[in-house]
Symmetry: C2
Amino acid sequence: MESKNIVQQNYKITKGDRAKLLHQKPAVLWFTGLSGSGKSTLADALEVKLHNEGFKTYLLDGDNIRFGLNKNVDFSDEGRKENIRRIGEVAKLMTDAGLIVLTAFVSPFQSDRNLVRNLLPEGSFTEIFVDCPLEVCEQRDVKGLYKRPALEK
Amino acid sequence: MESKNIVQQNYKITKGDRAKLLHQKPAVLWFTGLSGSGKSTLADALEVKLHNEGFKTYLLDGDNIRFGLNKNVDFSDEGRKENIRRIGEVAKLMTDAGLIVLTAFVSPFQSDRNLVRNLLPEGSFTEIFVDCPLEVCEQRDVKGLYKRPALEK
């Protein structure tokens, strides 16, 4: 919201200073894919690898977002869009802080992912599509999402 | 929002692991005070000092919050409350990532600040009241907030 209540202030410590102190290039690694495709599992495994190599990381996913920042966002189309937008803004702040951010959300709409991509400096957003066949996701059905419609018939 | 769409996942890299890698104890330093009291200036100066000593910091304030994450939050009482709530949740995520977070917002309501305090582990939230006399704030009037009502008469 553009507002007359906001005046820009120039801070002394910059994004570049923070990245330098952390000895890394901040980035967002955005995992996308169907429910049950393995986004969180892969993001978790990658975070372990990065962390063990000394990279400073953070993993954003439903666990730390839906119960906190986005607890007042519903599962309507509008809500899902706002959900992704806020996650994108948090990822942006975290890269500003120097971190490598991994995210694991279904995030089905290209337009929402593009919105996040456009928030970030060129080259710092990488989209990772976890390409798992629907029947495998259905079989795993970690969250009972695929079964539910049948039960509700 | 409690939801059947959310299933908790256990991640391997923990808050403790991240803090250890960053060699510091994560914390939130919450500057509060009137507009023009010097919150941002002091937070900026403290960040410089911490950064130069090797601490990994981030400064949240109107500049990076109001134009991004909270651009859809208005200046009503409800909006101001949601503004502070989201900032608190972001600060929480950032301490989870291992950072020392400085924030500079008027945040006039004790109840809102308590809400943020309660999000965080005991002892990791420090409230810093920038105690500047109203007449000095009015004189500075960095944002033209004090003058405006007179002009609008």
